[in-house]
C-alpha cells in the first residue's frame, strides 16, 4: 500500500520530475473561510478554540487582537479581513490556527479546520487568475483533488503584508 499513484506506463523523466525529489507530496492543514484553504503542516504548531481575544487599539484592521496561549501573548490575525473576503462571525466551529514562520508565532482566525490532507505534488497547480476572490499574491498554488479545490496560502507573504497606516502610526512594513 503506497500513496504514490502512477499511471499505467511512463517515461523516467516524467515520473521523476514529480516523484524524484524527496517530497512527493505536501501535507497541508485544510480550513474553511467559505472556500477551502490550506497551509503546509510544517508551519502549524497547533489549533485552538477561540477564547477571549483582547482587542489592541491602533492595530491594523485585520488584527483581531491578542490571546494568551499558555503564558505567551500571541497576535491573532482575522484571515477573512486580511484576504479581503466577505466578513464573517466567530462561531463555535471557529478556530485559531497557531502558525510559526521562522521565529514569528502568529494565530490565524478561521471559520473551521477540516483536517490534515496529503496532496501529491502533481495535483498542485498555479492559481488561475480569474477564479480567485483572493489577492493572488498570497496564493502559493491550488490543489485539485476529487471534487475539491484547496487554495494554498503563502503565510510568509500574509504576515509581511503591505504597509497599513492607522490613524496615528504606521504598522508592518
Amino acid at each position: 500500500m503506497s500513496d504514490i499513484q502512477l499511471p499505467a506506463a511512463g517515461l523516467a523523466e516524467d515520473v521523476l520530475r514529480i516523484y524524484g525529489q524527496e517530497k512527493k507530496e505536501l501535507q497541508i492543514v485544510a480550513f474553511s473561510l467559505g472556500e477551502e484553504y490550506g497551509v503546509p503542516i510544517g508551519q502549524v504548531l497547533e489549533i485552538v478554540r477561540v477564547g477571549d481575544i483582547t482587542m489592541v487599539p491602533n492595530s491594523p484592521p485585520y488584527v483581531e487582537g491578542v490571546i494568551n496561549l499558555r503564558g505567551r501573548v500571541l497576535p491573532v490575525m482575522n484571515l477573512r479581513k486580511r484576504l479581503n473576503l466577505a466578513p464573517g462571525e466567530i462561531k463555535k466551529a471557529s478556530r485559531v490556527i497557531v502558525t510559526e514562520i521562522g521565529s514569528k508565532v502568529i494565530g490565524i482566525l478561521v471559520d473551521g479546520v477540516s483536517h490534515v490532507i496529503k496532496v501529491p505534488c502533481m495535483f498542485v497547480e498555479a492559481a488561475p487568475e480569474e477564479v480567485m476572490e483572493v489577492d493572488t499574491d498570497f496564493i502559493q498554488g491550488v490543489a485539485k483533488l476529487r471534487g475539491r479545490l484547496i487554495i494554498l496560502l503563502d503565510l510568509e507573504k500574509l504576515l509581511r503584508g503591505k504597509a497599513v497606516s492607522t490613524d496615528q502610526g504606521v504598522a508592518a512594513e
Binding site: M1, S2, I4, Q5, L6, A8, A9, G10, L11, A12, V15, L16, Y19, G20
Partner: protein, 138 residues
C-alpha cells in the same frame, strides 16, 4: 521498426517469455534473448552488449531487477542500453527506485500491448543517434 534489432527480456516466468515473443513479433526481424533473472542477464551482457532494449522484471529470484540495476549502474557500457522495467501495481516504490537507478521507463503489468509499443517508441526516440548506428552495425 528501425532500430530494434536485439532485445533482452529478463523475467523468471517461461510463460511471460512466450507472451513477450508474441507481443514483440510486431517488430519483425527483431532477435529476442531470454534471461531468467538478473544474474543470467549479467552473464548475457558480458558476452553480448549490443542490445537495443532490455525489458526487465523486478521480482525475480537469485538477483532481482533492482539488484541488477545496481550492478550495471557502475558499468558505463551498459548504461547506454535503454531499460524498461516491468512493475506490478502496489510496488510503486520499487518502480521509482529502478527509475532513479537509471531505467528509462516502466510499464505496469498486466498491460495492453499498445501501451508497451507506445513506451518503446518513446524510449527509442530518446536514444542518442550514435547508439542506433552502432546497433545497426552489429
Amino acid at each position: 521498426m528501425s532500430g530494434l534489432n536485439k532485445i533482452m527480456v529478463v523475467d523468471d516466468s517461461r510463460l511471460i517469455h512466450s507472451m513477450y515473443r508474441l507481443v514483440l513479433s510486431r517488430y519483425g526481424g527483431c532477435r529476442i534473448v531470454d534471461a531468467m533473472n538478473g544474474l543470467e542477464a549479467l552473464d548475457v551482457l558480458s558476452r553480448e552488449n549490443d542490445f537495443d532494449l532490455i525489458l526487465l522484471d523486478i521480482n525475480m529470484p537469485v538477483m532481482n531487477g533492482i539488484q541488477f540495476m545496481e550492478k550495471i549502474k557502475k558499468e558505463n557500457m551498459f548504461r547506454r542500453i535503454p531499460i524498461i522495467v516491468i512493475s506490478t501495481e502496489g510496488k510503486e516504490e520499487d518502480t521509482l527506485r529502478a527509475l532513479k537507478l537509471g531505467a528509462w521507463g516502466y510499464v505496469v503489468k498486466p498491460f495492453k500491448p499498445e501501451v508497451l509499443y507506445d513506451l518503446i517508441g518513446k524510449v527509442l526516440a530518446k536514444r542518442p543517434p550514435f547508439l542506433s548506428e552502432a546497433a545497426r552495425r552489429a
